[in-house]
């Protein structure tokens, strides 16, 4: 064993120690040895019967134990109790990425629903129509209705999250995102030429759902009022361009222009943040810098890849779409510049955040043999 150096570590102990490497180093320093002991105790290593002891020492870590260590490692790296200030910063940023991601998705479905009911005087139908492939076996009958309704779950998922119901929010968000992933898989199969664009959009959709794991026990609850105001503003921001300019016969359908606005949002929020940071406003905090870097990077990925696909696939003769191409390219360059600035600032912030060891429970140990 390594704790006292009394004997050689067993194969099982070596394997457990390997699994514990998933934990942050300072967390491991505080809890690792005791965790190894508990893991080995649970497997019967140290049994008075030498044969049993040897047999237990040759085992492999159980998948459930490894999974529990993995989840602990994720929580520790995202600022759970005992995490270092740097990990707490990452956790704070991840929670904001989750909130902003669900906000974007909720505003998207709300704006589409309002647009279709108020302007097109029809029931919301475009929610489930994003698939280009549209195979009959899936997009017909009751399946079609279910798939059409699934994205609407983004709105209650966001509401649940801001009101502190993180498990409900996670369950609803997973139900909302799964049909979208399914459609993307079908579209990639049917239209391999735009695989990059489709993947980039789904990565941006999926990342906030994964980031929900940062809402662990003890994570501070969001302030519902601020986030609900943000949802109202975001929904209005999505509807405004359509109401002002996009009503002609050749107008882009809602699902298209809704997605286009996301990159603008991210860029504007990032610039406002940089100004707020200079002025010492709350929105200019270091936690927001890191979160907005991730959000801007996701928007840049979407915009960059989709512009590349668009330019590659668009007709070579000059036409009305040239304006869109130029605007999208400018947008990409602005986002890339802002992302670099945010990345530099976030790196400096993290560097300045001194890592301190995870708190040890109680006073110093008194070892008794």
């Amino acid at each position: 064993m390594t704790g006292t150096g009394a004997s050689e570590p067993t194969l099982l102990e070596i394997r457990y120690r390997r699994a514990l490497r998933m934990l942050p180093e300072d967390y491991r320093a505080a809890w690792g040895e005791d965790m190894v002991t508990s893991l080995l105790d649970a497997r019967g290593v140290g049994d008075p019967d030498p044969e049993q002891d040897e047999l237990a020492g040759l085992g492999k870590p159980g998948p459930a134990e490894v999974l529990s260590v993995l989840l602990l490692a994720v929580r520790a790296r995202l600022g759970a109790f005992g995490a270092s200030p740097r990990q707490a910063r990452w956790g704070e940023a991840a929670r904001r990425v989750a909130l902003v991601g669900l906000l974007v998705a909720a505003a998207d479905v709300l704006a589409r629903g309002i647009w279709e009911v108020a302007v097109l005087h029809d029931l919301p139908t475009s929610l489930g129509d994003a698939s280009i492939a549209n195979p009959d076996w899936l997009f017909a009958g009751p399946w079609r209705r279910l798939l059409a309704l699934a994205p609407a779950l983004w709105a209650p998922a966001f509401a649940a999250l801001v009101f502190g119901r993180r498990r409900t929010a996670a369950a609803l968000a997973v139900l909302a995102v799964l049909p979208e992933l399914l459609r993307t898989a079908l579209d990639i199969t049917g239209f391999p030429g735009i695989t990059g664009t489709l993947l980039a959009f789904q990565i941006a959709r999926l990342a906030p759902v994964v980031a929900l794991i940062a809402f662990h026990d003890g994570a501070p609850a969001p302030r519902p009022r601020s986030w609900l105001v943000a949802l109202a503003v975001a929904t209005a921001t999505l509807l405004l361009p359509a109401a002002l300019i996009d009503r002609g016969p050749g107008a882009l359908p809602p699902p298209t222009w809704m997605q286009l606005v996301f990159a603008d949002w991210a860029g504007v929020c990032a610039v406002v943040h940089l100004v707020a940071r200079r002025r010492g406003h709350r929105f200019g905090s270091a936690g927001w810098t890191l979160a907005l870097f991730v959000i801007t990077a996701l928007a840049l990925l979407q915009r960059g890849v989709s512009v590349a696909d668009y330019v590659r696939l668009s007709s070579p003769e000059p036409g009305g779409y040239r304006v869109f191409e130029v605007a999208a390219l400018v947008e990409t360059v602005v986002l890339a510049t802002v992302a670099v600035v945010l990345a530099t600032l976030a790196r400096d912030d993290l560097h300045e955040t001194r890592d301190s060891p995870a708190p040890m429970p109680g006073a110093g140990p008194s070892v008794t043999a």
Binding site: T4, G218, G362
Partner: protein
């Protein structure tokens, strides 16, 4: 203390009588909950980490057994208070549930409905 999850409740409960080491807590929780709450080691240390940060448990001592160090944890006064408050909260919830269930008994819950006669069988009292 903001919330006491079920694993945290049982970890606190397991430390009421004496300090215990990690695996000792796992075993005691298993016994106390009659096998309903089975703590994985990753879960246990996530809970211990949180309870220690909140000052509800603390390090008691370390011992060497079978060549390995074992760290013992004990309940603090705050931890005992938090457990007491949570137990009182749960008892009040249980009392309320009992009062409401007694006040609104389920209709016809006392006697099960008679079995339906099999298809094609003439019920008693019909033509003889």
């Amino acid at each position: 203390m903001a919330t006491v999850t079920e694993p945290a409740f049982f970890v606190l409960l397991s430390l009421v009588d004496e300090p215990r080491h990690g695996y000792g807590i796992v075993g005691t929780v298993d016994d106390l909950s009659e096998g309903r709450v089975r703590l994985r080691v990753g879960t246990l240390y996530g809970v211990l980490d949180r309870l220690a940060a909140e000052g509800l448990v603390e390090h008691d001592r370390e011992e060497v057994a079978s060549g390995r160090l074992r760290r013992y944890y004990r309940l603090t006064d705050d931890g005992r208070g938090a457990l007491d408050a949570e137990a009182a909260r749960q008892a009040e919830n249980a009392r309320l549930a009992g009062v409401r269930l007694r006040a609104h008994p389920a209709p016809r819950a006392a006697s099960p409905p008679p079995p339906a006669p099999a298809r094609g069988v003439v019920a008693l009292g019909g033509q003889a």
